[in-house]
Amino acid sequence: MGQQEERWLEGMVALVTGAGRGEDGGGGAGISRYLARQGAKVAVNDLTEEFTEATVDQIRSRGGEAWGIVGDVSDPADANRMVDAVVRHFGRIDILVNNAAIGGLIPAVERLPDEVWHRQVAVDLSGPFYMSRAALRYMIPQGFGRIVNIASLAAVRTGFVSGSTYTTAKTGLLGLTRQMAFEVAQFGITVNALMPTGIRNPRILRMRPEWLQAEGSLGPLDPEEEIGKLVAFLSRRDVTFISGAALPLDRGLGSALGNFEAYKQRSGKDAG
């Protein structure tokens, strides 16, 4: 009989943003499920209670501990309120996963409306800043913390489907990660960024089935078993040596020489 392996995150409290929709969700829901499997108590954030409860119910039905918290990460007051509420409910906060983001088909810069630009930068870049700032206010005095920012390979290349707003915000997220990591290393806090390529998202694949180009080892990333697993690993108490890092999750394909033709065709982008 083998030894029972200790769960990686036993007793830890995590807050994952943009983690709703449960089975129909994307990266955030998958990450939440994996963290819960590793013993973390997970606060699931999204924009509506319908969304958060879908993931919370899913986690609870598998024997995990979860709690929903509704709020908009791009609003600093909401960000503070949410982190305070998580600490009140669970007693502490150890792990923050800045996953909430908006993407979507964005026009070329030339045709990009102000509101679209501002909204996306607010959610994708300001959101992680406001949430991290709020979490650090607890993590610094407690001398421990893990912040994982879900960026994108777009942060070092260009967005695939999403446009200049996404590339801009996700690239800025790396700067946020690196500077923050530098500033809080002395407090036992690590801050890292993941740069995934395509993530399996049932709802989006229903809308755009042609985006599913392959399955298995060349297919989209599994939000739970692949991204969730890495987030959980980086959150371990004994993983103190990786911080300020930007890790590509691209099955080794993201650094291949670019192909603009294929990029335009596959993404359907308004790229010129």
């Binding site: 810069v109 870049l125 991290s132 590339t167 800025g172 700067g175 790229a271 010129g272």
Partner: protein
């Protein structure tokens, strides 16, 4: 005669934001001067008419063609109108240099205020977006354009003086640079970022005691600060017709300080970015 020297910008029109102050200013006015010396007519932008005029006066005294266009580029309407007015006045726009920037005051991440964050975004990211959008609309049918975004070495490293808002927004500007570059490359428009390190501007010479300047210079492999003229020369090159295949790039101009390993505790009093 003309056209045979490298980097001849005759016949071109450039808009440089944050270029006020003349010989009392930072890199902006020196960039404006170098572009003018290379033959371009230069629209000098800064937030106030006085500050912009200071540069214009000095350029005209040197026989160069320049005009002041005050505007707060973080305001979308003013940014749009700025590009409109430049094109109205000069008939065209070939070169846009996004130099205007905001330096947050360097609080630790947990203590940065909403205002510092939002102002950094507005000046360092939104303004270049507004201006690039307006410029590209004009440049695309003409099949020629040069957009140069002045980022900073902290976009790929850290900042001891300006904190999370500066580093995040300066790196975000590089993201915009890359994405816009791929959108417009086929139209003869290049978009690049330059990343200056320790540059000795007149403002710095006035504001920093010699020991501090020497201490910072010692951290740089070149053992000296760079000059604004060196930064301006890079801008002139990127603006030139010869540089048409360089696009989406981030070019450090830093005496190799960004390739030396960091750490060692960094001392705020010796910081430069």
């Amino acid at each position: 005669m003309q056209g045979t020297r490298l980097c001849d910008l005759s016949g071109m029109v450039a808009l440089v934001t944050g270029a006020g102050g003349g010989s009392k200013g930072g890199m902006g006015p020196v960039i404006a001067r170098s572009l003018a010396q290379a033959g371009a007519r230069v629209a000098v932008n800064d937030r106030t008419a006085d500050w912009a005029e200071a540069t214009v006066r000095e350029l005209r005294d040197a026989g160069l063609e320049a005009e002041a266009f005050p505007a707060d580029v973080a305001d979308v309407r003013q940014a749009d109108q700025l590009v409109e007015r430049v094109i109205e006045r000069f008939g065209q726009l070939d070169i846009l240099v996004n130099k205007a920037e905001y330096h947050a005051s360097g609080q630790r991440a947990d203590e940065v205020s909403d205002e510092e964050w939002e102002r950094s975004l507005a000046v360092n990211v939104h303004a270049p977006f507004y201006l690039s959008r307006a410029a590209v609309r004009h440049m695309r049918p003409r099949k020629f354009g040069r957009i140069i975004n002045v980022s900073n070495i902290s976009a790929i490293r850290t900042s001891l003086l300006h904190g999370v808002p500066y580093v995040a927004t300066k790196e975000a500007l590089y993201g915009l640079t890359r994405h816009l570059a791929i959108e417009v490359a086929q139209h003869g428009i290049t978009v690049n970022a330059i990343l200056p390190g320790f540059i000795l501007t007149p403002r710095l010479v006035e504001g920093w005691p010699e020991e501090r300047r020497n201490a910072v210079a010692a951290t740089v492999p070149a053992l000296r600060a760079g000059t604004p003229e060196e930064v301006a020369a890079l801008v002139v090159f990127l603006a030139s017709r010869e540089a048409g295949y360089i696009t989406g790039a981030a070019i450090p101009i830093d005496g190799a300080v960004s390739v030396v390993p960091g750490g060692g505790g960094g001392r705020r009093e010796n910081a430069f970015v």
